[in-house]
Symmetry: C2
Subunit: 130 residues, 2 copies
């Protein structure tokens, strides 16, 4: 896993395994209209900071494929522009439902993470309120 830059050693040692969250990132970006094809989505996903560190292109393309298999998105080829053809994706109703589900799952988890942060800061002596 590519680790975040600008972190100390201990953070680096720890940065792994907060999981990818590529799927909700893609669903959100497709829903917001920020990008519609894999190559652009790659950049967007890596900018939004939802995923753990940098996601590679392969992960994006595979995730989009799986989402299409599951009916959460549909794709169409776009050969109008210059350069190689693009596969443009659109959210389906199922995809929007999936995104909604992600929100509630993530919200629940976020609460647990916040509690963890608060309790642990207290435990460690309230230093580093950052």
């Amino acid at each position: 896993m590519r680790r975040g830059r600008g972190w100390g050693r201990m953070e680096q040692a720890v940065a792994t395994r907060l999981s990818r969250l590529v799927e909700p990132a893609l669903l959100y970006l497709l829903g917001s209209g920020a990008a519609a094809h894999g190559y652009d989505l790659l950049g967007e996903v890596n900018q939004m900071g939802l995923t753990d560190a940098q996601v590679d292109a392969g992960a994006i393309y595979r995730a989009l494929r799986q989402l299409e298999e599951e009916g959460a998105v549909v794709s169409t080829w776009d050969t109008s522009g210059p350069g190689p053809a693009r596969r443009n994706y659109e959210l389906t109703d199922l995809g929007r439902a999936r995104l909604t589900a992600w929100v509630s799952v993530i919200e629940r988890r976020t609460d647990a993470l916040q509690q963890f942060v608060e309790r642990t800061r207290k435990l460690l002596g309230d230093r580093n309120t950052d």
Copy 2:
């Protein structure tokens, strides 16, 4: 992965891969004195909600072993009580440092998750403020 109970179908479809976070959970619990050996920690970890769904015993024991290899915890056998011997763990200074690092990593990620929740709710039309 054992999925959380009390979730609808879509949540179940989505519940995978918000990662485990077994390590920070263990470090926190050891730091707080809630439990000191694997079997109890198993129950505690699964109650605190930091990890994605249910963690199995194997994961706990292996995580504790690795933490000991890395010097974040130390263990001693306790044969005083009835029943099988317990391996009691204690946090080391390195373990406390590790926990501190986890806090800052998790806090950063929590912010991103919250942003995602807010933006996505807005995108989906502000329904389900839950």
